[in-house]
């Protein structure tokens, strides 16, 4: 079978932190604060909308390839209002298989072999392999920490741009840190994009999950940025239905059309009844936007409580949380536990956080995600003291985690 080797484009891309750690956490006795999915139920009206959609014959058949008409129209309404501009539902929106599918369509549609793409660390882990699969070079720049504030060094960022730079990927709110980029920070990035004529792929899947004192700003709304930005959103994160795998890209026609080309040559269309249900969910909440009953507001409210509870639990054990400004993940510094991991079986050069999480799953029955999965090799030393906890979990799950951490403290 020597000729049946894989294509060059996937060389070195086979490892994946999720594949490794989700199976580890699959044991039902493990309290899973690892992979980012809610164990709280989605709003009942969204499930109802899906059941209703599936009962209509034509909703079980193919819909428009670039996005089900009722969904793209609903997206156009919601984002048109948020962005303060008219968004053409058919030319400026593409519906994809999750935010993931949008990221993929951006890379494949717009990133050329030999291009450079700037990625801010820590980054959602798929950005690097997707850039590499497109034959391009990931150029990493870490967020630096100063007195619990995570920031981008302007000179350092500027130094990363050159004539090969095709795009910069930003993620706000950021996974895993939970940083919400400020207007000034986004302006700094925008200035560089405009100066170097680069694109911006803005992953905003957690856009509605913003905590008090912070505001989600869309970089696409800054002057000069609409024409060079693709903004990515997710039904899964918006409505707590990660298993629906629907997302979208919003941007100018001259960019979206290339993502549409990718779509029509990769999977062609997304599932119809799911799109119809998301459309219903969006329209319902559009009516209530800004009000407490709007799910975009109420979910953030609920999660802020869970965030605070999680932070308290973690501090109580002597670990140091990084309080997120948005999103539903929390970084936790485990240094002060001084946990001896010399007995943990693994590669010698395996980072501390990987060993820590494996040990924690096995010995403490609590699952998290190691944060060095989200950084490049050069930044591993800075980040290997952190683990990532997901707190979009039922109170009972958080209580179970609390129990484990309390008993740990006693040992």
């Amino acid at each position: 079978m020597s000729r049946h080797t894989h294509s060059k484009r996937i060389e070195g891309l086979d490892k994946n932190v999720w594949v490794a750690f989700t199976s580890l956490a699959a044991d039902p006795s493990v309290v899973n604060l690892g992979q980012g999915f809610p164990d709280i139920p989605p709003p009942s009206y969204i499930k109802q909308a899906l059941a209703e959609a599936a009962s209509v014959d034509k909703m079980n058949q193919y819909t428009r390839g670039f996005g089900h008409p009722s969904l793209v129209k609903a997206l156009s309404q919601v984002y048109g209002t948020v962005c303060g501009r008219q968004i053409d539902p058919f030319k400026e929106i593409l519906v994809t298989v999750g935010g993931y599918g949008s990221l993929f369509s951006c890379m494949q549609g717009l990133v050329e072999v030999g291009d450079e793409v700037i990625i801010i660390e820590p980054f959602f882990d798929c950005y690097v392999p997707m850039v590499r699969m497109a034959g391009a070079k990931p150029v990493l720049i870490p967020l630096r920490c100063f007195h619990a504030d995570w920031y981008l060094d302007p000179d350092e960022l500027s130094s990363k741009f050159n004539s090969k730079t095709k795009a910069i990927i930003i993620n706000t709110p950021n996974n895993p840190i939970g940083k919400v980029f400020t207007r000034d920070e986004l302006q700094m990035i925008a200035d560089l994009c405009i100066k170097h004529d680069t694109l911006c792929f803005s992953d905003e899947v957690y856009e509605w999950l913003i905590y008090r004192g912070h505001e989600h700003i869309k970089i696409a709304t800054l002057p000069g940025m609409w024409d060079r930005t693709i903004t990515i959103g997710s039904a899964g994160k918006t409505f707590s239905v990660t298993g629906w795998k629907l997302g979208w890209s919003v941007g100018p026609e001259h960019l979206i059309k290339h993502l549409q080309t990718v779509m029509q040559n990769t999977l062609y269309t997304c599932a119809t009844p799911l799109q119809e249900a998301v459309a219903q969910g969006l329209l319902r909440n559009f009516e209530m936007m800004g009000q407490p009953e709007c799910y975009f507001t109420s979910l953030a409210e609920e999660l802020e409580g869970k965030r605070n509870r999680m932070a308290a639990i973690v501090e109580d054990v002597g670990m140091t949380p990084v309080i997120p400004e948005g999103g539903y993940f929390m970084l936790v510094d485990v240094t002060s536990l001084n946990q001896d991991l010399s007995h943990v079986v693994g590669d010698d050069d395996e980072a501390y956080d990987y060993k820590f999480v494996k040990w924690m799953v096995k010995e403490k029955k609590l699952a998290a995600i190691p944060v060095t999965a989200f950084v490049g090799d050069e930044s591993k030393k800075e980040f290997e003291k952190y683990i990532r906890l997901c707190f979009i979990k039922q109170d009972s799950t958080l209580a179970a985690a609390e129990e484990i951490l309390k008993s740990w403290k006693k040992v």
């Binding site: 079978m1 049946h4 894989h6 294509s7 060059k8 484009r9 996937i10 891309l13 086979d14 994946n16 999720w18 594949v19 989700t22 809610p38 164990d39 139920p41 989605p42 499930k47 899906l50 599936a54 034509k58 909703m59 079980n60 058949q61 193919y62 819909t63 390839g65 670039f66 298989v97 999750g98 993931y100 599918g101 549609g109 717009l110 990133v111 050329e112 072999v113 798929c126 392999p129 997707m130 497109a134 004529d197 707590s240 239905v241 298993g243 629906w244 795998k245 629907l246 059309k257 290339h258 080309t261 029509q264 040559n265 990769t266 999977l267 062609y268 997304c270 599932a271 009844p273 799911l274």
Partner: protein, 402 residues
């Protein structure tokens, strides 16, 4: 932007017959025998399975296993093992994808390098060519040719592959052969030719991508044979299937690729870097569908017996209708594009002027052969009788000069 904005892998793959013609059918509210989807409902048991999944616990709405929801891969393995004659490992030998479309994409991306050649049997489902191109491969075409002289009413079985012609297409750079049986658009079910194709794949150590999405829809006693079941072929064949076609639910977009683990693992790498997961509830419903079909396999209650039986009647109805109106393509020169193939122009005219949507068959041919086959249009008959009646009405009126 001074340099090219889009990635060059999207050069030349931006046109798409479906985008163009489904829009046309919608714009003119035509009786739609064009794009291939049923206008009747999926079977009750599968709709019920979906409702059950949707109202199932919270886990039905969250991420499932990336490479395939465990109940689904288990039921697929169980179901197809006995058909293929090989013990299929549910976790190693199967990848669930967003429709068969994405399975094809994963196969090409995982296995085709720049400069590899991929033999495609024509007419081919149109996406094979741009997918090969996007993977940097070179498509090499070999057409099915009609046996009989023109004028005779042909059966799709009369379209055959020449052994010599196919053999001549293999070179040291041939990575794979793509076959589609039953074939879209012709409907041919390959049987004798499969051994010939298999022999060549083995001789040249090539892979075989076998698109079998219509595997249950065979007529007149034609038997669907899986090329993966032939000796020496399991380890080199990627068999692609579709829940959409199997259960008349094209809008669910659930498909799969089944192959030897050493090949599937590379497709998994592509999958985890493209969409990563497929929707959970739909997979759960399809799993239930296969469990049910496993129990009633071969019996009259099986949907895989009922659907082809129903479609057989519709096929005959459409065929006799077309024969009775003596359908001969009449090319009216209303189109403005002289470069456009005859069948494209005809289909547009038929949609706009007569309100009947079909698909031009030269879309399923390579540029080098499309001129030979531009006198054919494709009708989809997986439609309610009322739709077929409406089409018949239009054709009768037209033949009477109305």
């Amino acid at each position: 932007m001074a340099r090219q904005l889009h990635a060059s892998r999207t050069d030349g793959v931006d046109k798409n017959v479906w985008v163009e013609f489904t829009q046309l059918a919608a714009d003119y509210k035509a009786v739609n025998l064009g794009q291939g989807f049923p206008d009747f409902s999926p079977p009750k048991f599968i709709q019920e399975a979906f409702c059950k999944a949707v109202s199932g616990g919270p886990i039905m709405h969250q991420y499932t296993r990336a490479f395939g929801h465990p109940p689904l891969v288990r039921s697929l393995a169980k179901f197809f093992s006995r058909i293929v004659g090989h013990e299929i490992d549910p976790l190693e030998d199967i990848l669930v994808t967003v429709g068969a479309y994405q399975a094809l994409f994963c196969a090409f991306q995982a296995l085709v390098n720049e400069g590899d050649e991929v033999i495609i049997v024509e007419p081919f489902f149109d996406c094979y060519q741009p997918m090969v191109k996007m993977a940097g491969g070179k498509a090499v075409y070999v057409p099915l040719r009609p046996k009989a002289a023109s004028g005779a009413v042909l059966s799709s079985g009369d379209w055959v592959l020449s052994a010599e012609e196919l053999a001549s297409k293999f070179t040291p750079r041939t990575k794979a052969v793509v076959i589609n049986t039953p074939n879209n658009p012709i409907g041919k079910v390959s049987t004798e030719e499969l051994q010939m194709i298999a022999d060549l794949c083995i001789k040249h150590d090539a892979l075989c991508i076998s698109d079998e999405v219509y595997e249950w829809l065979t007529y007149d006693g034609a038997k669907h044979v899986k090329i993966a079941s032939l000796p020496g072929m399991w380890e080199r064949t990627i068999t692609v299937g579709s829940a959409g076609k199997t259960f008349s639910a094209t809008g669910w977009k659930v498909g799969w690729a089944i192959s030897s683990g050493h090949i599937v693992k590379h497709m998994k790498t592509i999958h985890q870097n493209t969409v990563y997961h497929c929707a959970t509830a739909a997979q759960e419903a399809v799993a239930q569908g296969f469990e049910r079909e496993y129990e009633v396999f071969g019996s009259p209650e099986s949907y895989f017996q009922q659907l082809p039986a129903m479609l057989h009647l519709k096929r005959n109805k459409l065929a006799s209708c077309l024969e009775s109106v003596g359908l001969q393509p009449i090319i009216t020169c209303a189109s403005s594009s002289v470069d456009e193939p005859n069948d494209f122009r005809f289909v547009k005219w038929l949609t706009k002027e007569k309100g009947l949507a079909t698909i031009p068959v030269s879309a399923f041919y390579s540029p080098e052969h499309s001129k030979e086959f531009d006198k054919y249009i494709r009708f989809c008959f997986v439609k309610e009788d009322s739709t077929l009646d409406a089409a018949e009405d239009i054709l009768r009126k037209w033949s009477k000069g109305q």
